[in-house]
């Protein structure tokens, strides 16, 4: 189930050079589709939980290569494999003229393998292996267009920021090992606050939550299907998956911190999303915001709501990203919202799928986000502040989703490229349509019980459902009316807008702050090194010089003195043999 993507990656890496672009795509997509089929086959045979040990790995308690299917594993596995397969299929069309398809599909397959590992690993160590692989693959994929300096810088940034979280993760992992004596995820009791918070920091970095979210907006430099993969099905949801799987064994402090940070992130990122002018950056900030909501859900113990929103988000965000990619494909890579528009008439299918994704994002009924956001709101009902944050985020989400649709689909074309927009090929449209349908229907299917995901376990007050519908409708309606005319009537400029557009300065603050800290540290280290290391080296040099000066006396150039030394040596040897050895 896990292995086909790995096999695909290895196959592509080893002998992809001999194959054509089309073969790369077919192998890459086929491997993921195979693992999706295997997942379905396993699940249709019943047994929604189970474990399998593939072999020993590290001689630690809980260090074996063991996979386990817990109650989160089945839906997540299906979603990861399914959405990734669609994205891979779409990539065949999107990268039809790209030279790096071998690299791309190999990294894509490896990525899916790593993500499945995170979902299915039975111990923290194996999970961490997947975790790191995901980080590596995201670096490779974000930097796919490596000749662009911006892409290379973005990849580096994603990697470095993730490293911060990974260090915390490793330390947390060791803390768990020391405290509990095993890394296995099964039957774990409570973790200490220290270990919990460290693991949480790891999750924050991977899931792009405050304050480690800064890599995600920049990660938009990668090809759009990669953005869909990273932001919808995989990577960023890894942190949520970790929180879900660790679940209640985390300490209350860490869970509380997760929900508060999630709420702040959700709100701030939604505000930032509202004022971006770059199509993909709107989606990036909206991802950060939506994952914030999942953290709220996971933090207050509403595992079902968080999982539901994770899956719903995967569908509608993938639909949105692939739609955005299709739009860019049809308009010579135009991604400035102010220069797009009029897609509704020229790219009907793309526009429909994009709008379906937006409906999901805006949480309008019957979109996927409606049911899942309401589940989170219901779970947060008895915490007024969190509830207010969730509802406000929902309002903002509806607003920026409406703004997106208005600018891209409804507004008059803003540039010659947008006027010449042409529909994409079927290989891109089929996955797009599938994801659009899922974005519209998934929420209802779960709510009606057609897809057995689980149940609400929180009882929401009766007023909540109507209120959230009204909030979403009001936001969407206002947004559509306000922004339909096009970018001329965008959000009013002002200090608040520029602050939000730059993500409230967190990025700049962290980057300059980090740089300054590192520079200070570096200077201090350098002077220490000069004092100690250089002094030691000098000492060695001085000693050698002194010794050489002594030895050099014997080489005085007089043949007769050499001769005398030779004789003296011979005499000494003779004396030793005749007197000493006895």
């Amino acid at each position: 189930m896990v292995l086909p993507p790995l096999g695909g990656a290895i196959l592509l890496a080893l002998c992809g050079g001999a194959l054509g672009r089309r073969a790369h795509g077919i192998i890459g997509t086929g491997a993921i589709a195979l693992s999706f089929a295997a997942a379905i086959a396993v699940l249709s045979g019943g047994a929604p939980t189970g474990r399998a040990t593939l072999g020993p790995w590290l001689p630690l308690p809980g260090g074996d290569l063991t996979l386990a299917l817990d109650k989160y594993g089945a839906p997540l596995m299906l979603m990861v494999a399914g959405v990734s397969a669609l994205i891979a299929l779409y990539s065949i069309g999107y990268l039809a003229h790209d030279r790096g398809t071998q690299r791309y599909f190999a990294a894509l397959d490896l990525f899916v393998f790593a993500m499945l590992l995170i979902v299915l690993a039975d111990n923290l160590l194996l999970l961490f292996a997947g975790w790191e692989l995901v980080g590596l693959c995201s670096y490779l994929l974000i930097g796919h267009w490596r000749e662009r300096p911006a892409a290379a810088a973005a990849a580096m940034k994603a990697f470095v920021v993730n490293r911060v979280g990974d260090v915390a993760f490793v330390v947390g992992l060791l803390a768990v090992l020391v405290e509990r004596g095993t890394l296995s995820l099964e039957g774990q009791g409570a973790h200490s606050a220290l270990a919990s918070v460290l693991l949480l920091i790891g999750a924050l970095a991977k899931s792009a939550q405050l304050p480690l979210h800064i890599w995600l907006p920049d990660a938009m430099e990668g090809p759009t299907p990669v953005s869909a993969l990273i932001h919808a099905a995989t990577m960023v949801t890894a942190g949520v998956v970790l929180l879900l799987r660790l679940g209640p064994s985390l300490s209350p402090e860490a869970l509380g911190l997760a929900s508060v940070l999630g709420a702040v992130t959700a709100l701030g990122a939604a505000a930032a999303a509202l004022v971006q002018t770059d199509l993909k950056r709107v989606l990036a900030w909206s991802t950060i915001s939506q994952i914030g909501l999942m953290f709220v859900g996971a933090g207050i113990g509403a595992a079902f709501a968080a999982l539901f929103h994770l899956l719903a988000h995967a569908f509608f965000k993938a639909a949105l990203f692939l739609g955005a990619g299709s739009v860019m494909h049809g308009t010579d890579d135009e991604q400035d919202l102010r220069r797009l528009g009029g897609i509704g008439r020229r790219m009907r299918w793309t526009a429909a799928a994009f709008a379906a994704g937006a409906v999901g994002l805006a949480a309008l009924p019957p979109g996927a986000g409606f049911f899942s956001k309401e589940a989170i709101a219901a779970a947060a009902a008895d915490r007024p502040l969190l509830l207010a944050a969730v509802l406000l985020t929902a309002l903002l989400s509806a607003l920026y989703a409406a703004r997106l649709v208005a600018f891209v689909v409804l507004a008059p074309a803003g540039s010659p490229q947008a006027e010449r927009a042409h529909e994409s090929t079927p290989v891109m449209l089929v996955p797009l349509a599938a994801l659009g349908l899922a974005a519209l229907s998934f929420g209802a299917l779960v709510a009606l019980g057609v897809i057995p995901l689980g149940r609400h376990d929180a009882h929401a007050p009766a007023w909540l459902a109507p209120v959230s519908v009204v909030v979403a409708l009001a936001g969407a309606a206002f947004g559509l009316v306000r922004f339909r005319a096009g970018p001329a009537r965008d959000v009013a400029a002002g200090p608040l807008r520029s602050a939000a557009a730059s993500g409230f300065g967190v990025d700049a603050f962290l980057v300059t702050g980090g740089r300054r800290t590192l520079a200070t540290l570096g200077i201090a280290l350098e002077s220490t090194a000069e004092r100690t290391l250089d002094a030691m080296l000098d000492l060695v040099a001085v000693l050698v010089t002194r010794a050489a000066r002594l030895v050099r006396r014997t080489q005085n150039g007089f043949v007769r003195s050499y001769e005398a030394l030779l004789l003296a040596g011979a005499a000494l040897l003779l004396a030793y043999w005749t007197l000493g050895v006895r």
Binding site: R552, Q555, N556, F558, V559, R560, E563
Partner: protein, 99 residues
């Protein structure tokens, strides 16, 4: 004659040669002193060979004679070069190779 007498004579000749090398500064004299030492060794070998009724020592003595011939050839070449460079063959003046 007892073997000890040959050995004593050999040791005497060897010491004379060694002293000659260290004390004389003339390159030619030093070559002669080297020759003296080599033949002292030869004498010792041959005496031992006779003492033990074995031919090994004689064989080595022949070998030493051959090496001595080669050594003289090289040594004389060096002496001639020395004479060309310094007009005298005083080894103490040829100390350019000091470290």
């Amino acid at each position: 004659m007892p073997t000890v007498a040959y050995l004593l004579l050999g040791a005497l000749l060897f010491s004379l040669g060694a002293a000659g090398i260290v004390l004389r500064t003339n390159a030619l004299s030093m070559l002669i002193a080297v020759e003296l030492m080599l033949n002292a060794v030869n004498l010792t070998f041959v005496a031992a060979s006779r003492h033990f009724h074995a031919t090994d020592g004689v064989a080595v003595a022949f070998f030493v004679i051959a090496v001595a011939a080669a050594e003289v050839a090289v040594g004389l070449a060096i002496v001639i070069d020395l004479a060309r460079r310094h007009t005298v063959v005083d080894v103490d003046q040829a100390s350019e190779l000091k470290g």
